[in-house]
Amino acid sequence: MPKIEVDSRAFFEFVGRRLEGDQFEQILTVAKAELDSSEDPVLKIELNDTNRPDLWSTAGLARQLRIYLTGAIPKYRFFSTPEERLDFSGRTIEVDPNLREIRPYIAGFAVAGKSLDEAELKDLIQTQEKLCWNYGRKRQSIAMGVYRHESMKYPVHYRAAHPDNTNFVPLGMDRPLSLRKILSEHPKGRDFGWIVEGFDAFPFLTDDTGDVLSFPPVINSAKLGAVEVGDTDLFIELTGTDIDSLLTATSIVACDLADSGFTILPVATRYSYDTKYGREIIAPFYFQRPISVDVDYGSRLLGLEFTTEEAVAAVAKMGCRAKAEGKKISVTVPEYRNDFLHAVDVVEDMMMGRGLGAFEPIQPGDFTVGRLTEIEVLARRVKNTMVGLGYQEMIFNYLGSRKDYVERMRTSGEELVRIANPMSENYEYVRSSIIPELLGAEAVSANAAYPHSIFEVGKVSRLDPGDTNGTVTRDYLGFLHSDRSADFNSVRSHVAVLFYYLSIEHMMRESEDPRFITGRCAEVFVANERVGVVGEVHPQVLENWGIQMPCSVCELDLTIFL
């Protein structure tokens, strides 16, 4: 979840009033935001809604709070729509047809009329980072560049360039590098090169004179792409793979800059291929359709009667213009939002606009019968018997290493479920047996007074080609007895007690198992089905674990007893 830093002076200026303490924290919940820390003049704020990237900037978060507090919904007049095209005064971006399969979409606009101050520049950089990282999936679906506008010549060209024959001086360096070299030699190339490295041509952005703007989504040029405090005319572009989120992100940045006092100058993008909004799109572009919501549906879901007027008033506090249409309301989605997938998303804004405090908790009324799973009931019986036998219950982690599960145990490990992307080799496998965990506990417990009697009831998982998921999960009981006289017979009698009280007949068949001493190991059978193993642990296994006390163990598959 994104966390942003805002300058409190600028922030409360946007909000229109200063807010403090509980009142501030309370109002932040309207934006699902939490004050993380505040160190004057910087406020650190965490935003929990990953579908509301419009809240991830000083101006955007302040806008939501301002609307909620004043009820005044801003009107932005620089949006083109499918029906209404604004004048773009010859500012165009021409798109190379070869980009269609590489990085097909670009949108841009220019700003003028004011000089960029330090707080605004910092905020613009932060917006770019949060939008592109969290909303743009680490620049994969959205990347953004900001440039000095005054020396640029239109049309801007968005091209598919040859990685080796195209050179420019990237921001942060002082000599030209080929696009391919940037991937290996520039820090941003190493961070974001993976997005384009599989293609034969790379996205490349220049103005009409050939001056380089950037190599999207990797790095700006040193010449046009270095923006500083005091700049007054800026060009902003975003490239990406998903046109709706790209246009939404573009709108967010435009609204933020408009709130800061900049004039927004539209720019047209011309494609040589079709997009869902045609071959020429003038940005900022508003593509949302009104959503119609049955107010009764909202009332039922929220458990509180809303009139259409009340519903309209509630969503207005969240920035949505709405009008009543019979028992429904028709909601106009704000320019900077794209989080209305379903009527239920409007219902949430009805809740937020009304305020959660208006909803009195009530007890769920339906009668239902509570019940434990069968395995839980069985596990409790088994645990009681184990406690009666003097065993201490343990709880172990389910992940472990090849060393513990295979090498120390002298097993093949062929049934183990291995993790493809382990965080460390200590947690690379899902356990298929509790025995290694029991021996692991014994290995760190030589200081505890003997005898040691420990057990666990828990899950194990193993490969099983017969299952659609290729694996099965079982509920196992494992127990270990460790003492000078902890031989096969000591544990064998505990097994007998357990089966007696489970009222199940069992049988032992001698078996060969490298984990155990030959002749002191048996498989346990119930009605000809193998349910487990009991044995005196082989001294080589004990040595592998660094254990200096005889151990006998048993492991039973409880799933079979259900």
């Binding site: 309207v30 039922r300 239920v344 219902v347 908790p361 799973t373 992307n421 417990s445």
Partner: protein
């Protein structure tokens, strides 16, 4: 030394009582300082050396006697051979007994009969014939000459018995003739064949302290004898021997011995308590496998396949097989449609092309909500379900993150459930499960619920914290899985309370293999 006479008198050992009683008598008789030595206790109270050592150490520790002086003493102790002589008889006694019972026998026959060396029988015969007890007849057979053993031999027997009973014989307690005989059967440094060894030891003389004498007086006053019954035995009960006797008082304040018992793990008990609580609120438990598919873990919950929480760095993938062979229909088609264009859910969907290969990818379940989703197609209406299940996250293991951990999750289905019943449910959890004194609701965000609510509670010990997340499942989650009614979904973070219950601060401790730590752990 400060002695609480009243308390001490109750906790005296029988040996102490006997010494104190003797000391009280001695004090009355002599009106002088009462001296105590090992030898005195042996002769007056029939103690053995071990008992003397014990009683002196107890009495000194309690300040009832104090050391007066130390002196060198010579003791005669039994050797291994001496103990054997004392128990089965000296060669003299055994030789005489054999001849008395069997009539005249040759020395070799006697040696064979008694399983003794010829040499030993020979030397016994030598002494006995010198004493006139036995003689050799014409056929070289041993015959008895006297009805009894000689005084010399009888003295050896007496000394053996005395040494066995007292533990050692102090030299000054011997008469001259006894000493002479004893020296003849002793070897310094306890040579193997001699029944006695000589030991030089330091002996301590003690005197009664004022407190000791006072306590001795009380012992007499209260009529304690040291003959009180210690352990009550089945034999005493059978014979009635206990009747009319007093029982020795035990020191109730003695620290009890540590016992190691079989017991439940307190973390498991806590989880069990939460389960029972939820069952009592009408919830039915669900459970499922550790290995799941992307389909159930994310897609069925309407999390778009490009969602940031579904990156390779957030879930664990199974290495082989990489994918499930199939995903159950019709759920696959319906969920895919919901993602692509909303299907019949009333949603516009996420508007991307659903990846049917990715959805089969096998993972370790990363959230308990998987089981809530899987429960939907088979759920009863109305219905309440929960699970406390192990989940796996791609996280660096530290005090607040485990490689695997328990999540507590559930759902409530019903025609009439709504936001307000969700708040009521959360309030019930806050009060019943978490013992909260105050509850606060905050709008939250979860990809699969709308609206979403976080519940924060004020706990008597932990203060304000987030107890859990919840919401009403999005129609894009429920309708593809065949559910037309609203479904409340909730999850509770109970680990903080579990840690509090156990007095711990590190989640890793909950899963420790350290047996001693687990043995000592208990609920606060």
């Amino acid at each position: 030394m400060n002695v609480d006479i009243g308390a001490e008198v109750k906790h005296l050992h029988p040996l102490e009582i006997r010494v104190l009683r003797w000391a009280a008598g001695a004090a009355d008789n002599s009106k002088r300082e009462v001296e105590l030595r090992t030898e005195i206790l042996i002769s007056s109270l029939a103690f053995n050396v071990g008992q003397c050592n014990q009683v002196f150490s107890w009495l000194t520790a309690k300040g009832l006697v104090e050391e007066k002086e130390r002196m060198q003493r010579t003791f005669y102790e039994l050797t291994e051979r001496g103990r054997e002589f004392q128990e089965v008889g000296t060669p003299y006694e055994r030789l005489a007994k054999t001849v008395r019972e069997r009539g005249p026998l040759a020395l070799t026959e006697i040696a064979a009969e008694l399983e003794l060396d010829n040499k030993d029988i020979g030397s016994a015969f030598g002494l006995m014939s010198k004493e006139g007890v036995v003689a050799m007849d014409g056929e070289k057979r041993v015959t008895l000459k006297l009805p009894d053993l000689s005084p010399h031999i009888r003295t050896i027997r007496a000394l053996l018995d005395r040494a066995a009973q007292q533990g050692a014989i102090e030299e000054s307690s011997l008469t001259a003739s006894e000493l002479e005989i004893l020296q003849s059967v002793s070897k310094k440094r306890g040579a193997g064949s001699a029944p006695f060894r000589v030991a030089e030891r330091e002996e301590v003389a003690y005197r009664m302290t004022a407190e000791g004498l006072e306590l001795a007086r009380r012992v007499e006053e209260q009529g304690l004898t040291g003959e009180e019954i210690g352990a009550l035995t089945p034999a005493m009960l059978a014979s009635g021997e206990w009747k009319g006797k007093a029982f020795r008082r035990y020191n109730i304040q003695t620290p009890p011995a540590r016992l190691i018992i079989g017991r439940r793990n307190p973390y498991a008990e806590y989880l069990q308590w939460v389960k029972d609580k939820l069952v009592s609120l009408g919830f039915e438990e669900f459970d499922g496998p550790l290995v799941e598919t992307e389909f159930w873990n994310g897609d069925a919950l309407f999390m778009p396949q490009f969602h940031s929480a579904r990156d390779i760095h957030d879930v664990y993938y199974v290495a082989a097989p990489e994918r499930a062979t199939e995903i159950e229909q019709p759920w696959l088609d319906r969920v895919a449609e919901a993602h692509e264009n909303g299907g019949d859910t009333g949603s516009r969907g996420w508007g991307y092309s659903f990846d049917r290969d990715f959805t089969r990818k096998l993972i370790l379940r990363s959230q308990g909500t998987v089981l809530s989703a899987k429960q939907l197609p088979k759920a009863k209406i109305p219905g309440k379900y929960f699970g406390i299940v192990r989940c796996f996250r791609y996280d660096q293991v530290d005090a607040t993150h485990g490689a695997d951990f328990y999540q507590t999750e559930g759902i409530v289905l019903g025609e009439d459930v709504n936001l307000r019943t969700l708040l009521g449910l959360l309030k019930m959890f806050a009060e019943e499960v978490a013992g909260a004194t105050e509850v606060k609701y905050v709008p939250g965000y979860f990809p699969f619920t709308e609206p979403s609510i976080e519940v924060h509670i004020k706990h008597p010990d932990l203060g304000w914290f987030e107890l859990g997340g919840s919401g009403i499942f999005r129609p894009e989650v429920t309708r593809p899985l065949g559910i037309e009614v609203p479904v409340l979904a909730w999850g509770l973070g109970i680990d903080r309370m579990a840690l509090l219950h156990l007095g711990l601060s590190d989640l890793r401790e909950l899963f420790t293999g350290n047996i001693e730590n687990v043995r000592q752990r208990k609920r606060k």
